[in-house]
């Protein structure tokens, strides 16, 4: 599903040159649940950003669903992200001024869809994460776990084949974390969604199919 070949990422400031990723090659199969671990600053978020086409590598190539991504322009990238990828973040990134339902509908606004379809899909997604009764609430009326479930609903509403999760349980206690983890595992098993998850939590990581460890920008396992 996702092929990374010799990915290198260099950050340059006027004085310092930092190597964030050093020659990473990964092949993630369709339906796989992969976790990435490593200490802070090892480059795991950078790697996830590159997989999510939010960032471009300095060297190397990414192929997603057999499509090369190097020559895609802004518009093509945006469309690709919209249809193929779903994102989940540690700090949720919900828009506080929009209701839960509106937040979940958001990805559908960037593709052709009618208001009715959007509402239908968003309601279904919320049902999947068990928050159908909170549709009219606003994010600041929800607990952290609920917020993350909204974020998951938003990630799956467009039926993407890949979900990229950046420390989805990082801000949550273990009970809530497990809840989120269960939802992700269900998505993986039932819908066959490919999931890549960055985490700090060994327990969570061990629940996944495969674990990749990064240290100082290099793959160590």
């Amino acid at each position: 599903m996702i092929q990374l070949k010799n990915i290198e990422k260099v950050y340059r400031t006027s004085t310092v040159e930092t190597l964030a990723l050093n020659s990473i090659s990964l092949d993630i199969a369709k339906g796989e649940f992969l976790s990435i671990m490593g200490p802070s600053g090892c480059g795991k978020s950078t790697l996830l950003n590159i997989m999510g086409l939010l960032d471009t590598p300095s060297k190397g190539s990414i192929t997603i669903d057999n499509q090369g991504t190097e020559h895609m322009k802004d518009k093509a990238l945006a469309g690709f992200r919209n249809k193929k990828l779903g994102f989940i973040f540690q700090s949720y990134h919900l828009i506080n001024d929009l209701s839960v339902l509106d937040n979940v509908e958001l990805p559908l606004l960037y593709r052709d869809s009618t208001a009715k379809e959007r509402r239908q899909l968003a309601t279904e997604a919320l049902e999947k994460v068990g928050l159908a009764n909170r549709m009219k609430h606003f994010p600041n009326q929800l607990s952290g776990g609920q917020k993350q479930r909204v974020a998951i609903a938003r990630a799956i509403v467009g039926r993407p084949e890949i979900i990229l999760a950046d420390e989805p349980t990082g801000n949550l206690d273990s009970a809530m974390g497990n809840e989120i983890m269960d939802i992700l595992m269900q998505l993986n098993e039932k819908d066959g969604t490919t999931i890549v998850m960055v985490t700090h939590d060994e327990n969570m990581a061990h629940k996944t199919h495969r674990l990749v460890r990064l240290f100082d920008g290099s793959q160590v396992q």
Partner: protein, 396 residues
Amino acid sequence: MFKHLFKLIWNKKKQNALLITEMLVSFLVMFAVFSMIVNFYHNYRTPLGFEYKNVWLINIDNPPHFNKGDSAAMYYQNIRNVLTNMPEVKEISYSSGNTPFTSSTMTTGYRHKSKLYSPVNFFRAEDPYDNAFDLNLLEGRWFDKRDNAATVEPVVINQSFKEQMFGKGKATGQLIGGYDEKDTKKMRIVGVIADMKDKGDFRPAGMSLYTRIDTGFFHHVGRIVVKVTPAAGAAFEGRLYKTVANIMKESTIGIERFSQKRDKMNKETLMPVVILLILAGFLIINVALGLFGVLWYNINKRRGEIGLRRAIGATGNSVSAQIVGESMLLATLSLIVGSFFAVQFPLLNVFDLPAGVYITAMFLAILFIYVLVLVCSLYPGRQAAAVYPAVALHEE
């Protein structure tokens, strides 16, 4: 998408209320400014209606007193003869004090079919007045010798007055009455002239009526209108002055040129407008900077949201369009409220300006505010498009 933007704005109404108020007040200011400009332009576009070049004005202070009208008339006939004999003088007409480009006005009301028309500017002039100012006759004729024998007082009216009374119909030959309903004395319209914008290029002529000077008028003469040849210059002015002052030893004489009086009048009319424009200009710069600052700051505050939108499939352009769109929507909301206030002006006929002026001004003000908001939000929009999602999403 529109509904989405509206939701965003609506849910943030507390923060947006001040922005909306600011745009609303700016709109009202611009509405006032444009009303004034449009009105002035509208007036400026209508022809002046007379020729002022080579026309001079002799002012007489403290004219001599006469006990009998006849002797007064003879006295002024003598002056007329002396002046007409000067080769540089082409036409000469005595006139009431409200000659063109003076601040003096005389108004009264007239009745036609018992309907009162007021206020009507009321002028007194002689037969050559028409040629002195090259008036533009639309219907009938100006005063001439035929009026000596008239039993009903002849009057000439201007186009504005005619349109008020008769619309498209014919005015010549019609009879009108004076202000007092009990007064049954009638006047006959002998001609209609194009409007004379006698208060300068930027003010409308209004309804006007001209009567022919009779013997009684000469008890108190204040103004002589003199049309001279193009060659007449300062030397002739000195000679003219000496000639008149020698005859009217008791009076103070002053000579002015209508071309200079016009410039002065226009300057006086425009001065407050220019001051107001400068003020409005500064206010708008102020508002523009403020809007720009607030929008720009909002982009910084919403970096997370922008990054997220990019991540879930928004292009840079669509993010930029969203920012601009939100601002335009805010502007639209304030313009709706503003237009509600603005539309009261033509409806209630405040300040007596034509409704078209207000409506044009309203459209211009709306356009202005949209352009202002667009300009102020374009750069913040571009900033938003440039937000790097990978960075923005990991900032918090």
